[in-house]
């Protein structure tokens, strides 16, 4: 499936950027955003360096006031033909991405931005440069990614590619993270099907850690860590959930979450931009298939987090292998796993579900 190259760009009342991605044959007809919005204020948000862990933390007091479970007729992600009721001033749309009104990272690209050296002072902080976007998967208020038809899901993948390319090229953005939080159980405050895209000004701690493991593996074995993990999982077979000519989905051997499925392209790629047309189509099918299976595991749809691990072809990120990790805290039909002290204070994960057992459940769902 091929797409028109450029989305339509629009500006919201407070200057935030909105992009319309349209299916072949569709037009988009935005109207002016006539809301009276306060000007954005980034001053309340900053990065602070935690010396005891060597990690940056985002302090974003602004977000305390964000929209919380509005009634369906006031959903800010539904189309707003009047330009007065919604974040998307248009009679309809296919897929949109726009800057989050309650962003914890802002103003990337405005000027050359470099993080300060943590050794420079006792307390090191920096403006929270970066980008936080919302991506609406459909104009239909109900439903979910798993329920999108192929063309619609493929358009979301195309929008992810566009945002990845553009934000990766933005000065000051080090990592682009496309993700979806789904379900009130994990704190989602808007039910309209949507995901988010973060452009961080640093490599996130987990990515840094995985890349470090991969570099050590390369030094030791001469091979790519993730490619080897994929090959081992395929050879073992016990945790494979789905496998096609181009993609493989499996529950990892040392899964941290009661439900956890990883999706890898069979061919090494850094990110969605490296995939060819056939791979993008297949990725769309396999990803949708996995989400549909996960929703059939229990009587109610699964609350989940879906994380696209994408990497740039830079020295630091070269060993990174594009994959998606889908995780859920649901450990049975009625119970959730909580990240309590062992996980939250010590990062020591305890998984109550055997990876082989959940793989069998997803395989047969």
């Amino acid at each position: 499936m091929t797409f028109r190259q450029s989305p339509t760009r629009w500006a919201l009342a407070d200057g935030r950027e909105l992009l319309f991605f349209t299916l072949p044959g569709h037009d988009c007809e935005p109207v002016p955003d006539r809301r009276s919005l306060p000007q954005r204020c980034a001053a309340q948000s900053e990065l602070r360096f935690d010396r005891t862990t060597g990690q940056w933390v985002i302090i974003a007091a602004l977000r305390q006031d964000r929209t919380y479970m509005p009634p369906a007729d006031r959903c800010p992600l539904c189309p707003g033909p009047s330009g007065l009721t919604s974040e998307i001033p248009a009679a309809d749309y296919d897929v949109v991405a726009f800057e989050n009104r309650f962003a914890s990272l802002t103003e990337a690209g405005g000027s050359a931005f470099q993080l300060p050296d943590p050794a420079d002072a006792d307390f090191v902080s920096a403006p929270s440069h970066g980008r936080c976007e919302v991506i609406c998967f459909s104009s239909d208020h109900t439903g979910s990614f798993a329920g999108l038809d192929f063309r619609q899901a493929r358009l979301v993948v195309e929008a992810w590619r566009h945002r990845t390319a553009e934000l990766s090229a933005t000065p000051g953005i080090e990592q682009v993270f496309c993700f979806e939080n789904r379900g009130a159980e994990i704190g989602v405050t808007l039910t309209h099907p949507h995901g988010q895209i973060y452009g961080y000004p640093y490599l996130t701690p987990r990515t840094e850690q995985m890349l470090q493991a991969a570099r050590a593996h390369r030094t030791r074995t001469g091979t790519n860590l993730f490619a080897d993990v994929l090959a081992h999982e395929v050879r073992d077979g016990a945790r494979i959930v789905a496998r096609t000519e181009l993609f493989t989905a499996f529950v990892p051997f040392a899964a941290r979450w009661p439900v956890e499925v990883h999706i890898y392209p069979n061919r090494f790629a850094h990110n969605l931009l490296d995939l060819d047309g056939a791979e993008l189509d297949e990725f769309t099918r396999v990803y949708s298939d996995i989400l549909q299976r996960l929703d059939r595991l229990y009587p109610t749809p699964l609350p989940y987090m879906a994380a696209l691990h994408q990497y740039a072809d830079t020295d630091a990120q070269r060993e990174g292998y594009f994959h998606v990790e889908v995780m859920s805290t649901r450990r049975s039909a009625t119970k959730l796993k909580y990240l309590a002290s062992s996980e939250s204070a010590m990062d020591a994960f305890i998984n109550d579900v055997r990876p082989e057992a959940i793989a069998e459940m997803v395989r047969t769902a």
Copy 2:
């Protein structure tokens, strides 16, 4: 305050160990545990190595059946004078510690145990050697640590010391972690005031990370990282919550949680065993005071995690500075913070509350 040196040891029906810690002048009179309990089975629990992060994960399928919110008259942590209704077969007790019936780590000390080298195979796993204990803070079913009188709280501290000393000396245990999870909001399944003690067979990932940061700091500056952080916080003052001659409590500059308070002894110590009598008494007072303040922040008691960071005087852990981290996911009177994709998938924390603001709230609570 001084204590009788040795707790009374008892055995539960399935062979698990139970220890009674008693206040001066009190006796403990355990009765036989007459319950018909299944023999413990460790076979369902194992450690698995995650190559992509370089971390061990505990897979503990056994825990799925653990006791979940029993009615008050069937609380397994209340005294059980008949030996038929409780984990503690006795008419009363002051403080007890016993092996968790639904342990994710077991059988430490039975034989010399060494973790396998992760480079040895494609999939590396090991028996989940270690220890999981429950510690009951009081025989009173209601209440909390914050509500204990000084003598009772000091006895809990003494029990922590005893368990730290004994488990640290147990072959195969690398790290002893005393902690409390409090509140249904973070998944606590028993309301009787209690904490837990884990003896991990490895250094937990966060501890490893903090020690790595501390070693790098030592190399660069010749000083201890945590001592420097404490000195900087004291000098700055904006986030200090309480300070006495012997202890300091503060909200860290780069707090990851909406409520987060760290408590440090003013003098360097690796763990509770390094503290003298006056310091132990003062720690008890300051810790209780902080928990009381936290419960006054909002109309209802705060759900929290309290983590005792203790270290051994070994090459790997020498830079570790004993401290307690108390954290809560509550970000307002009615809202909780959820660890969604940014935190859970990328370890990139976003804190909605300014550390200076929460410090002021705790200071004046």
